[in-house]
C-alpha cells in the first residue's frame, strides 16, 4: 500500500480495497518497524490517527469524502497541534502543548487526512542536516550514515521510507527543497503568503513558508491545494483565490521558456550533480521546453543577505521563549536576569544560540544600518533580478537544488559557514518570496539528487505542470531505497 500514489490510495479507499483504518494501521506498523533507526517521528499519535481514520471511513461510507479523506500524513513538529506536543525540535518546547491548531493542521484535518504523528526537524528549523534537533539526528533512508538534509529532515525521511505517503514541511531558506533533493522526493515551497503561517512556530517571519514533501508532483499538488488559501489570522497571507493545481498537470510544456541563471551554473556543484541536471535539461528539451541563459546578477549575495535577515528575525521571534509563561524554565534561579539567562541558555541548542547572537548583533544600535538595512536593500535587488527575468518572457527558472548528494553525519557540523552554503541555490526564492520546488533527477553513486524550479508569484500550477510532465517522462521519483520498498 505504501508504494501507491495519493490518487491510487483514494481509489483504493473508494473501491473498498482497504479502509482508512487499515491504511493507517499499515503505516503505524511501518513506523514501528523502521523509525527506531530513522528517528523521523518525535511523536506518534496512533490513537488520534485511528480515530481520524474511523471518521474518514464514515465520511467515505456516507459519500462525503474528498480526495484526501482517509489518507495518512506526517506533520512537521513546527505546526501547532491542539493537545499534542509541538516542540519545534527544541528542548525549550519539550513540554509545550498548544491549546490551538495551526491553520494548515485545521485545513488538512477538515480534508479528512489522518495525522500519524509529528516529525523531527532541526531546532526551530535552523539547520540543513537535521543534526541540531533536540530529539537527535534523522537518518537518510538512502544511506543511514548520511543526513537527510534539513530542516525538514523528519518530513523527507518518513516519506522516502514509506512511513507516510506525504508530509508537511516548511522552508525558510531551502528547508523543503534541499532535503527533498537529498532523499529523492518532490518538495514544493509555494509563494510567500499562499499558505497561512498561523500556528506555525516562527523562525524568520518574512521568509517562512509552509509546503509539502511528496513522492510526486501530483501528490504534492493534492496536499498543497488543500493547505493553500487566505487566512484572516495571518496578515501576510494573500487574499487571492487558490488556483486549481491539478487540472493543468497534463498540459504539454511545448514552447515554455525556462531560464538557466549563469550564476547558478558556475563552480559550486559537484560533477555528478551537474551531469544529472544537464540530463534533466535534455529531457525537458525533448518535451518541448526552450532553454535560455539568463543572469540573476545579485544571486551571489543571497547567502550573506539571508544570514543577516533570517537571524535578525529569529532573534526577535525567539525572544518570547523566556521561561516565564511556558516552555523550559531553569530551576532555582535567584533573580529575573538569572531566570532568563539560564532558561534560554539551557533551552536553546548551540546553533539557535549562534543565530540569536548574530541576529541581535545586526539589529543593534550602530550596526542596524550597515547590516539589517543593507541586507533589506540587497534583498530588494535579488527580487528585482527575478522580476526582470519573468518580465523578459522567462516562464520558470531552473537550477540545481543542492551542491551535492547527502553528506555524512558530522561532515559539516563543525563549520557553520560550510553548512550555510548548503542553501546557496535555494535561499534566493525565499528572499524574493517566489514559489520554488525540487524534484528528483537521478542518482550519483546510488544517492539521489534533484533540480530546482522557481516560478513567478503564484505560478505554482505552472511549476507543478512542468514537474509532472517531467515525471511522466522519467522514473527517478519512483525509485525506492531498497530496504523500504517492500
Amino acid at each position: 500500500m505504501h508504494t501507491l500514489t495519493i490518487a491510487q490510495l483514494a481509489a483504493g479507499l473508494r473501491e473498498k480495497k482497504f479502509s482508512s483504518r487499515e491504511l493507517t494501521q499499515h503505516y503505524l506498523k511501518r513506523i514501528d518497524a523502521f523509525d527506531g533507526a530513522l528517528n523521523s517521528f518525535v511523536t506518534i499519535t496512533a490513537e488520534r490517527a485511528l480515530a481520524q481514520a474511523d471518521a474518514a471511513d464514515a465520511r467515505l461510507a456516507a459519500g462525503d469524502a474528498g480526495i484526501l479523506t482517509g489518507i495518512p500524513l506526517g506533520q512537521k513538529d513546527i505546526f501547532c497541534t491542539q493537545g499534542v506536543r509541538t516542540a519545534s525540535g527544541s528542548k525549550m518546547l519539550d513540554s509545550f502543548i498548544a491549546p490551538y491548531d495551526a491553520t494548515i493542521v485545521e485545513k488538512l484535518d477538515a480534508a479528512g487526512m489522518v495525522m500519524l504523528g509529528k516529525l523531527n526537524m532541526d531546532e526551530f528549523a535552523m539547520g540543513s542536516s537535521n543534526e541540531t534537533s533536540f530529539y537527535g539526528p534523522v537518518c537518510n533512508p538512502w544511506d543511514k550514515t548520511r543526513v537527510p538534509g534539513g530542516s525538514s529532515g523528519g518530513s523527507v525521511a518518513c516519506v522516502a521510507a514509506g512511513l507516510a505517503p506525504v508530509a508537511t514541511a516548511t522552508d525558510t531558506g531551502g528547508s523543503i527543497r534541499q532535503p527533498a533533493a537529498l532523499t529523492n522526493l518532490t518538495g514544493i515551497k509555494p509563494t510567500y503568503g499562499r499558505v497561512s503561517r498561523y500556528g506555525m512556530i516562527a523562525f524568520a517571519s518574512s521568509l517562512d513558508q509552509a509546503g509539502v514533501v511528496a513522492r510526486s508532483a501530483e501528490d504534492a499538488a493534492h496536499v498543497l491545494q488543500a493547505m493553500s488559501g487566505f487566512d484572516p489570522k495571518d496578515s501576510t497571507s494573500v487574499e487571492r483565490p487558490v488556483d486549481d493545481l491539478l487540472s493543468g498537470l497534463g498540459q504539454s510544456i511545448k514552447g515554455l521558456t525556462i531560464g538557466l541563471p549563469k550564476e547558478y551554473f558556475a563552480d559550486g556543484m559537484s560533477a555528478g550533480v551537474r551531469e544529472r541536471i544537464e540530463q534533466a535539461i535534455a529531457t525537458l528539451t525533448q518535451l518541448g521546453a526552450n532553454f535560455k541563459e539568463i543572469s540573476l546578477p545579485n544571486s551571489p549575495l543571497s547567502v550573506p543577505t539571508y544570514y543577516v535577515v533570517a537571524p535578525a528575525e529569529a532573534s526577535s521571534n525567539l525572544a518570547r521563549f523566556d521561561g516565564v509563561r511556558y516552555g523550559h524554565r531553569a530551576e532555582g534561579a535567584k533573580s529575573l536576569e538569572e531566570l532568563y539567562k539560564r532558561s534560554r541558555g539551557e533551552g536553546f541548542g548551540a546553533e539557535v544560540q549562534r543565530r540569536i547572537m548574530i541576529g541581535t548583533y545586526v539589529l543593534s544600535h550602530g550596526y542596524y544600518d550597515a547590516y539589517y538595512l543593507q541586507a533589506q536593500k540587497v534583498r530588494r535587488l535579488i527580487y528585482d533580478d527575478f522580476k526582470r527575468a519573468f518580465a523578459d518572457g522567462i516562464d520558470l527558472v531552473l537550477s540545481p537544488t543542492a551542491t551535492d548528494v547527502a553528506f555524512k553525519f558530522g561532515e559539516n557540523s563543525d563549520d557553520p559557514v560550510a553548512m550555510y552554503l548548503n542553501d546557496i541555490y535555494t535561499i534566493a526564492a525565499n528572499l524574493a518570496g517566489i514559489p520554488a520546488m525540487s524534484l528528483p533527477c537521478g542518482f550519483v553513486d546510488g544517492l539521489p539528487t534533484g533540480f530546482q524550479l522557481m516560478g513567478n508569484f503564484f505560478a505554482e500550477a505552472r511549476m507543478l505542470n512542468v514537474a509532472h510532465q517531467y515525471q511522466q517522462a522519467t522514473d527517478f521519483h519512483q525509485q525506492w531505497p531498497t530496504e523500504y520498498a517492500s
Binding site: 491549546p99 490551538y100 516562527a202 517571519s205 496578515s235 526577535s316 525572544a319 523566556d322 532568563y340 539589529l363
Partner: protein, 482 residues
C-alpha cells in the same frame, strides 16, 4: 513656584492614551478594566508560539481621528516595528510599536496662558502601539504574578515638542489634550485606571543658552497635580545641581507622590538597546486620502469651535461657554435643555452651570451620572419660563428633584408651589404686612429706601414664596407709595 531669574525650563511630554476600542489592537480579546487576572488574555496576547497579530482597524481610525483633531499630518504609509526588551509582563519579548514611520506627525495644540493669550505647542508625532501587561507584587509569596489583561491594549503615544516652559504650561497642555481625547471619544480619560498616562521630559538652561540642557525623563505621573509637582521638583533639583557646580545625568526618574520627589531609576548607560526593526508579521498601514477624508467628515465638533458657537448662538459669556463645553456630554446636556425647555438660553446656562453642576459636584458625579435627565431638567426650566413658579421656588423644586421626589410638575403639584399671580391675593398679603409694620412704613416713607427689601421679604413670606416676583414688586411699590 517661580523659576529663579536667569533660568528657563524646557519641557516636553509623552502621553500614553489608551484607545477605547472594543478589543485589543492585535487580538480579539476584550479590554475591559478590572476583569479577573488573565481572563482577557488569548494565546496571541500570551505570545504563544505560532501566534500572529492582526491589526484592529478601529485603533487606526481612532489614531487618525486624533491626528486630524490636532491638525497633524496622517502618514499615507506607516509601519509597525518591534521594540525589544525582556520583562515578564511583555510576553513576546518585544512590544509592537511604530518607530520610524508613525501614523500621525507634525500637529499642534493651542493652550491658553494665564494672561489670556494662547501658545501653540507642537506635537511631534503620535504613534500606535500595544500596552504591556502588569506585574503584581502583592499577595504572592517570594514571587510575582503577571496579569496580561492589559497586554495588547491599543495606545497612542503622543509626543510633544519641547515647547513647554513651566509646569503650569505643561498641565494646561495635558488638560487640553485630555479634554480633546475624551471629546473625540477615543479614550475614556480615566487617569486612575491608567487610560491616560504621562511621562515628562525636563531640562533647564540659562535663558539665552543656544542649546537645551541634559534632560531627565520622569515616568508615569498619573494626575494633573502630580505632573505639576514632579516637573517643579525636577526644575528645582536640576537648577540646584547645576548651581552647585554639578551636571545633570541623562536618566529616567520615578515620581513618588508621597514625598513629591523624583528619584533616579536608571541612567542612559543601562538603558536597553531596543533593536527596533519593522515587524514582518504586519503589513504597512496604508491610509488613503478617501479614508482620511471620511474620518474628517465624521469628527465631532471640537471644544473650541463649540465654545465660540455657544457665545454666538446662545449669547453666553465666554466663561459660561467654557464651562458648558468642558465636556462633550455636558455641552450636549445643555443644548438638550435649551431645546426642550424653550427657556431663555442664558437662564438655562445659569441653571446648568451653577445649580446642576454644583449639586453633581457635591455628589462627586459627572454629568453622565446626573440623577436628572436633560428632558426632566428642561421641564423645570419651562415652569420658570411660563411663570408657573418663580426662581426661588424653583430652587426648592430642584432640590426635591435631586432627592428623587419626582418630576418638576409632580413636585410643584404635590407641594402646592404654583406661583400666585392673582393680584388681589398679593395685594391682600402686602396690605397685611404694611398694617403690621407701621414704624417701618413711616421710616421708609421718610426716606429709608433700604427698607424696601424688608417689605419684599415679608410679603414673599406671607405668600409662602409663591408670589410672582414681578407682580409683587409692582404692587408693593404702589402700596408703599400710598
Amino acid at each position: 513656584m517661580i523659576i529663579p531669574a536667569g533660568w528657563e525650563a524646557v519641557i516636553g511630554l509623552e502621553v500614553h492614551c489608551q484607545l477605547s476600542t472594543q478589543s485589543k489592537i492585535f487580538s480579539g480579546s476584550a479590554i475591559a478594566y478590572g476583569a479577573a487576572p488573565n481572563s482577557q488574555a488569548s494565546p496571541i496576547d500570551l505570545g504563544m508560539p505560532g501566534m500572529l497579530p492582526v491589526l484592529n482597524v478601529d485603533a487606526v481610525k481612532k489614531a487618525v481621528t486624533f491626528g486630524l483633531s490636532v491638525s497633524a499630518k496622517i502618514a499615507d504609509r506607516s509601519v509597525f516595528a518591534r521594540k525589544h526588551y525582556f520583562y515578564p509582563d511583555l510576553p513576546k519579548g518585544y512590544q509592537i510599536s511604530q518607530y520610524e514611520l508613525p501614523i500621525v506627525y507634525e500637529g499642534h495644540l493651542d493652550i491658553e496662558m494665564e494672561d489670556g493669550t494662547t501658545k501653540r505647542i507642537g506635537i511631534t508625532r503620535a504613534h500606535l502601539e500595544e500596552d504591556a501587561g502588569k506585574s503584581v507584587h502583592e499577595g504572592f509569596q517570594k514571587s510575582s504574578g503577571i496579569d496580561l489583561n492589559r497586554a495588547g491594549t491599543p495606545l497612542i503615544e503622543i509626543v510633544s515638542e519641547p515647547d513647554l516652559r513651566t509646569a503650569q504650561e505643561a498641565v494646561a497642555y495635558l488638560k487640553k489634550l485630555h479634554q480633546l481625547v475624551v471629546y473625540l471619544g477615543i479614550c475614556d480619560g480615566n487617569m486612575q485606571e491608567g487610560s491616560f498616562r504621562c511621562d515628562a521630559n525636563v531640562s533647564v538652561r540659562k535663558i539665552g543658552a543656544p542649546k537645551f540642557g541634559t534632560r531627565t525623563e520622569t515616568k508615569n505621573v498619573n494626575s494633573f497635580r502630580y505632573v505639576e509637582k514632579a516637573i517643579e521638583y525636577e526644575i528645582e533639583r536640576q537648577i540646584e545641581v547645576i548651581e552647585a557646580g554639578g551636571s545633570i545625568r541623562q536618566e529616567t526618574r520615578l515620581f513618588n507622590p508621597d514625598t513629591g520627589e523624583t528619584k533616579a531609576m536608571r541612567s542612559k548607560e543601562d538603558a536597553n538597546d531596543y533593536r527596533y526593526f519593522p515587524d514582518p508579521d504586519l503589513l504597512p498601514v496604508v491610509c488613503t486620502q478617501d479614508y482620511i477624508d471620511a474620518i474628517r467628515k465624521s469628527l465631532p465638533e471640537l471644544p473650541e469651535p463649540k465654545r465660540a458657537r455657544f457665545v454666538a448662538e446662545f449669547g453666553l459669556s465666554d466663561y459660561d461657554a467654557k464651562t458648558l463645553t468642558s465636556s462633550r456630554e455636558l455641552a450636549a446636556y445643555y443644548e438638550a435643555v435649551v431645546t426642550a425647555s424653550g427657556a431663555e438660553a442664558k437662564l438655562c446656562a445659569n441653571w446648568v452651570a451653577t445649580d446642576l453642576l454644583g449639586a453633581l459636584n457635591k455628589m462627586s458625579k459627572g454629568i453622565e451620572e446626573s440623577p436628572i435627565t436633560a428632558v426632566a431638567f428642561a421641564a423645570l426650566l419651562k415652569r420658570i419660563a411660563d411663570k408657573t413658579i418663580n426662581g426661588k421656588i424653583a430652587k426648592d423644586v430642584f432640590e426635591a428633584m435631586v432627592a428623587g421626589e419626582g418630576s418638576a410638575d409632580e413636585i410643584i403639584q404635590a407641594k402646592g408651589l404654583v406661583q400666585v399671580t392673582d393680584e388681589s391675593a398679593i395685594i391682600a398679603a402686602i396690605d397685611d404686612v404694611i398694617a403690621k409694620n407701621p414704624q417701618q412704613l413711616a421710616d421708609y416713607r421718610g426716606g429709608k429706601d433700604k427698607l424696601y427689601g424688608f417689605f419684599v421679604g415679608q410679603a414673599m413670606k406671607a405668600t409662602q414664596g409663591k408670589a410672582n416676583p414681578d407682580a409683587l414688586n409692582r404692587l408693593l411699590k404702589e402700596r408703599l407709595a400710598g
